[in-house]
């Protein structure tokens, strides 16, 4: 538990001391404006909830992918990784704490996007199913955190994690139905999207903002939870393997 808390605390300090970790909070308002402009210009005010949820998910994903994903490689670059490994606390637990910290901060994006919609366009969307919304957000954040752990481990293996991360944003937004539901994607790609937790999350989130009753709410939440847990497990296994490999090859200090 102490290791987890140490990770949470460390990440908060790092975020406080480095302004560029909070880039998504600067781009989220811009994307909110872009999406709202598109739907309003097209006369589709019914799609405003979709336009608002998209930047929220994009923000969370950024934190998971870029910030969370670079935790281990960042530590290695700073020359700190070896010493954390040599300390009694579990590195994996520390990483979990750091990711938990990041993702919780990422949730602030939700309020930011809503505020921008309200202030700039006067958009006011009632929370039709507030419990479902809150639960889905939490479970989504959980799944994102799990994916971040997987990324943190996998990025150590790739030689250039920056390009990998860069390539994983928009493809994921498409496959995850971040704005446009996956049902509208071509048939051949549908099976792939089912394995992406985001596709379940985004659908649920949009449903929670619409008046109609939500279909199979618990089943769908369960899918997000399941996929998120699988990511965690994958991440944990890969991390174990990666660290062991680095201890063998001596690459803990440098790439």
């Amino acid at each position: 538990m102490r290791a987890f808390r140490a990770g949470v605390w460390l990440e908060l300090q790092i975020i406080r001391s480095s302004p560029d970790t909070l880039i998504p909070f600067f781009t989220a308002p811009l994307f909110t404006i872009i999406f709202l402009m598109i739907v309003r210009n097209g006369g589709r005010h019914d799609l405003q909830p979709d336009a608002l949820m998209a930047p929220v998910l994009m923000t969370l994903w950024w934190f998971a992918l870029f910030h969370g994903g670079n935790l281990v490689t960042g530590d290695r670059w700073q020359g700190v990784l070896e010493w954390i490994l040599a300390a009694p606390s579990s590195l994996a637990t520390v990483i979990l704490g750091r990711i938990a910290s990041i993702m919780t901060i990422g949730l602030v994006g939700f309020f930011e996007v809503w505020a921008v919609g309200r202030l700039m366009f006067g958009v006011s969307i009632p929370f039709e199913h507030p419990l479902a919304l809150a639960l889905t957000l939490l479970v989504t954040v959980f799944a994102m955190a799990g994916t971040a752990v997987a990324f943190a481990a996998l990025f150590v293996l790739t030689r250039n994690s920056y390009t990998f991360a860069n390539s994983s944003s928009f493809p994921f937004y498409v496959l995850g139905g971040v704005f446009v539901p996956i049902a509208l994607l071509p048939g051949w790609i549908q099976p792939v999207t089912k394995g992406v937790f985001m596709s379940w999350s985004s659908d649920l989130l949009r449903s929670s903002l619409k008046p109609a009753p939500i279909d199979n709410e618990w089943g769908r939440l369960g899918m997000v939870l399941l996929l998120g847990t699988l990511s965690f497990l994958l991440g944990r296994i890969v991390l174990f393997y990666v660290l062991r490999r680095m201890r063998t090859t001596g690459e803990l200090a440098t790439a």
Binding site: S167, F170, V174, V180
Partner: protein
């Protein structure tokens, strides 16, 4: 100048291989453009999709151009800037050449996205008219690159906010340059400002090509885009010279935190 260009390409090769560029970068670019194309379909119909596709494909050229800001800062960081300033060639010339590959990359990426994602969505490519899009995209890429170079001068002293300025820069361009909505949607003042930014006029020209607008209109828009390019490069030149002389005075040219 040739050497600088080659040096730039060498830097580039360090980050991207052919394989990673195609599989990594282009996949992302096509996904980005398709993301907006799909939104167009969702909001309305094919016409909306095409509008967003074209806009966002060109936005990729702008994105890469703004990235040039990073290159300048890495120069400073590598400690080479003081050496450059001391050399007989003007730093602006060196930078322009060194980063020119980015303009090429931006144009290629944008064209690739347009000509791959476009037809996939059913966008009709009017031959041979559509060939005009190629040089027009080049102009947009160059204008964005000039803008990026100018931004580099602004954030020179503040390495920490580099990434921030790059991202806000290009998403900002996506927001106000008529990429996703027509210029008429903006308040008048904003529309006026956007005309001075890269991408706006060039995008109008390219939309004109697809919509069958008269060549005189298209050329008028391109000329404006070229003027914007020259304007930002001039501003960059002035800014760099000021930086160099100030830096020589207070020693801020060296690398540091």
């Amino acid at each position: 100048m040739q050497h600088a260009f080659r040096a730039g390409i060498a830097d580039y090769r360090a980050i991207w291989t052919w394989r990673s560029w195609v599989l990594g970068w282009m996949v992302r670019v096509i996904a980005q453009v398709s993301f907006f194309g799909l939104i167009g379909l969702r909001v309305s119909d094919e016409r909306a999709a095409f509008y967003l596709l074209i806009g966002n494909a060109l936005a990729v050229a702008a994105q890469t151009g703004v990235f040039s800001l990073n290159m300048t800062s890495s120069e400073r960081w590598a400690g080479t800037l003081p050496l450059l300033v001391a050399s007989p060639t003007s730093p602006v010339v060196v930078f322009s050449s060194r980063g020119a590959y980015l303009a090429v990359d931006g144009a290629l990426s944008a064209l690739g996205a347009l000509f791959i994602a476009g037809p996939a969505f059913g966008l009709d490519l009017p031959w041979p008219r559509v060939l005009a899009v190629i040089p027009l995209t080049g102009v947009v890429a160059i204008a964005s690159y000039c803008f990026g170079t100018f931004l580099a001068g602004l954030v020179f002293r503040f390495r920490e906010i580099n990434s921030l300025v790059v991202l806000v820069g290009y998403v900002g361009l996506m927001t106000v340059c008529g990429v996703n909505v027509p210029l008429s949607y903006y308040p008048a003042a904003l529309e006026w400002i956007s005309r001075f930014l890269p991408l706006t006029n060039g995008l109008l020209a390219i939309r004109g090509v697809f919509e069958g607008a008269p060549w005189s209109t298209i050329l008028g828009d391109v000329a404006l885009e070229a003027a914007v390019a020259v304007g930002w490069m001039t501003a960059a030149l002035l800014s760099f010279n000021r930086l160099a002389s100030r830096g020589r005075l207070d020693g801020s040219l060296d690398y540091g935190a």
